[in-house]
C-alpha cells in the first residue's frame, strides 16, 4: 500500500472530565499532538475521519469547522470498537486513490460514567427495547454471558483471564499515558468486586475521557530519520453471523486466512499484537480467530504466553489499563501503539526489533455480542 502512518498523538486521559472539557477539546488536543508528531501544519490536512459517541449534535463537518480544516475528503464512522480500523482502511484507500493527500483520523469521547450508562442502555433499538428493561448492565452483562460460555467451552477459570489483566498492567507501567500503571497481583484481581458474574472490576474496561489521532499520507512525508510504517493488509467484517452463533468466534474468523495471505506473513512472524480489549474473553476470541493461539489451547496461551509476557500483547497496557476513551479512540490507541513499537519509539515498553504488528478492532454489541471486527498487519519498511 502506498500510504503510511506519518504521525500519532493523544490527549491526556482522565476518569472524570472537568468543566470545560468535552469530546471536542480532547480531540483538539490529540490532533495538535499528532500534527506535532508528524511535523506538519494543520493546513496540510485535506481529509478527515472521525468517530465519537459524544460529538453529537455536531457531526464531522462541524468538527472540521471548529478545527479550521477545509477538506476535500470527510468521513464519520459509527462502528464503535472497530471504528478506528474502519477509518484506517478508508483513509488508506483515500490516500491511494488520490482523493486526499494528508488524512487526519481522530476519535474521542467524554461521556462521563452517567453519560456512558445512557449510551449503553440505548445502544441500538434491540438493546433499548429488549435488553435494557432486563437491567442487563450494558456491555458488561452481555460479555459476562459470553465469558461464561467461553469458560465452559474451553475449560477456563478466572485466573486465566487474570493473567491477561496482570500482564497488561505490567506493560502499562512503561506507558506514561496509561491511566492505571500500578502493578496488579492475582490476589487483587481475584478479590476485586464482582460486577457481572463472572466479570470482576478488572475484567471490565475502564471508561475514561480522552482522544487519539493519527495522520496518514504518502511515505515521503514521514518525518526524517523515522522508519516508515505501512499497512500490509487490512480486512473488515460486519454482521458476520446475524447474531446466530455463540459469540466465541468474531468476524475476524471470516477473513483471517485471507488477511495473512494478503500480508504475505504468518501468525508466528508477528512481533507485537494490539488486540481490541474491551473484555479479556474477546481478546482470546480474536487471538484464536487470527490463528495466534497454537492448537487452540486458550488456557495455556493465557497462562504462559500472555501471563509470562512471552507474547507482547497490548504493550501500552491495552484499554484495560490505559483506559477506554470510547471504543473508537481506544481502537486508535491500539493502532498508535503498533506504530510506536514499529518505529522503536515505545520507550520503557519497547519490544526489541519489532518489525511486524497485528492490530484489531471489535465492537458494536448488537444483541448477544459484537457485530463488527477488523484486523490489519502493519510493518516497518525502512
Amino acid at each position: 500500500m502506498k500510504a503510511a502512518i506519518i504521525g500519532v498523538g493523544q490527549s491526556p486521559y482522565t476518569r472524570r472530565p472537568e468543566s470545560g472539557q468535552s469530546a471536542h477539546t480532547f480531540i483538539r488536543d490529540a490532533v495538535r499532538a499528532a500534527l506535532a508528531d508528524a511535523d506538519i501544519s494543520a493546513r496540510d490536512i485535506d481529509g478527515m475521519a472521525v468517530a465519537s459517541f459524544s460529538l453529537a449534535p455536531d457531526t464531522a463537518v462541524d468538527l472540521a469547522w471548529k478545527l479550521g480544516l477545509s477538506l476535500k475528503w470527510l468521513l464519520q464512522d459509527t462502528n464503535g470498537g472497530s471504528s478506528a480500523m474502519n477509518m484506517l482502511g478508508h483513509a488508506l484507500r483515500g490516500i491511494e486513490t488520490g482523493a486526499a493527500s494528508v488524512i487526519l483520523v481522530t476519535a474521542g469521547d467524554a461521556t462521563g460514567l452517567a453519560g456512558y450508562g445512557k449510551i449503553a442502555a440505548s445502544y441500538n433499538i434491540a438493546t433499548r427495547d429488549h435488553l435494557a428493561p432486563l437491567g442487563h448492565g450494558g456491555p458488561n452483562g452481555v460479555y459476562a454471558l459470553v465469558t461464561a460460555r467461553q469458560m465452559k467451552t474451553y475449560g477456563l477459570d478466572k485466573t486465566d483471564y487474570g493473567h491477561m489483566a496482570i500482564a497488561q498492567r505490567a506493560w502499562a507501567a512503561g506507558n506514561p499515558n496509561a491511566v492505571y500503571r500500578a502493578p496488579l497481583t492475582m490476589e487483587e484481581y481475584l478479590g476485586a468486586p464482582m460486577v457481572a458474574d463472572p466479570l470482576t472490576r478488572y475484567d471490565c474496561v475502564p471508561v475514561v475521557a480522552g482522544a487519539q489521532a493519527i495522520i496518514l499520507a504518502h511515505p515521503e512525508r514521514v518525518p526524517r530519520g523515522r522508519p516508515v510504517v505501512r499497512v500490509r493488509a487490512i480486512r473488515h467484517s460486519f454482521n458476520h453471523d446475524n447474531q446466530a452463533g455463540d459469540g466465541l468466534k468474531t468476524g475476524i474468523s471470516t477473513f483471517a486466512d485471507a488477511l495473512w495471505r494478503e500480508a504475505g506473513v504468518r501468525p508466528g512472524d508477528i512481533d507485537v499484537a494490539c488486540i481490541y480489549d474491551d473484555y479479556p474473553a474477546m481478546v482470546l476470541a480474536q487471538l484464536a480467530d487470527l490463528g495466534l493461539i497454537p492448537n487452540g489451547d486458550l488456557k495455556r496461551f493465557a497462562r504462559v504466553d500472555i501471563g509470562e509476557r512471552r507474547f507482547p500483547l497490548n504493550t501500552h497496557g491495552g484499554m484495560m489499563s490505559a483506559g477506554q476513551p470510547g471504543g473508537p479512540a481506544g481502537g486508535l490507541n491500539h493502532i498508535s501503539e503498533a506504530v510506536l513499537q514499529l518505529q522503536d519509539r515505545a520507550g520503557a515498553r519497547q519490544v526489541p526489533n519489532a518489525r511486524l504488528a497485528v492490530v484489531t478492532g471489535y465492537g458494536m454489541t448488537m444483541y448477544r455480542y459484537g457485530g463488527t471486527a477488523a484486523a490489519a498487519i502493519l510493518e516497518r519498511t525502512a
Partner: protein, 107 residues
C-alpha cells in the same frame, strides 16, 4: 406481564428469529409469523451487581436462554433458576422474563 414470549418465524424457510428482522438472514424473505414460546432452557446466567452510572442499583439476573432449536435470547430471570433449568417465559413491553417451570411470578 403476560405469559409466553413472542419470537418470529420466517414463513418461507422456517428460521426462528428474535428480534424481528426486515429480511430473513437465511432466505431473505420478508414475511414473518409471530410465534409464542412458553418455555426455554437456561444455558448461562449472570448476576448484574453494578450498573454504570447508578449508585442505588439492586442486583438483577440475566440469562442466555434457548427458546428454539436455532434461537437463543437474553432473558431477565426473576428467581434462582440456573443453567440447565427449564423456565416459563413472560413478556413485558417486548422484553422477556422467566421463572422456573411451574413456579409463580414473584409478587
Amino acid at each position: 406481564m403476560t405469559r409466553g414470549f413472542t419470537i418470529f418465524r420466517c414463513r418461507n424457510c422456517g428460521a426462528a428469529l428474535f428480534p424481528e428482522r426486515l429480511l430473513c438472514p437465511r432466505c431473505h424473505g420478508a414475511d414473518f409469523a409471530p410465534e409464542r414460546r412458553d418455555r426455554g432452557t437456561v444455558e448461562e446466567i449472570s448476576t448484574i451487581r453494578h450498573m454504570i452510572g447508578q449508585t442505588d442499583w439492586k442486583p438483577r439476573v440475566i440469562a442466555n436462554v434457548r427458546v428454539a432449536e436455532d434461537l437463543h435470547i437474553t432473558v431477565g430471570l426473576l428467581d434462582s433458576s440456573g443453567p440447565g433449568d427449564t423456565i416459563d417465559l413472560y413478556e413485558k413491553a417486548g422484553a422477556p422474563f422467566g421463572v422456573a417451570h411451574g413456579a409463580s411470578l414473584p409478587s
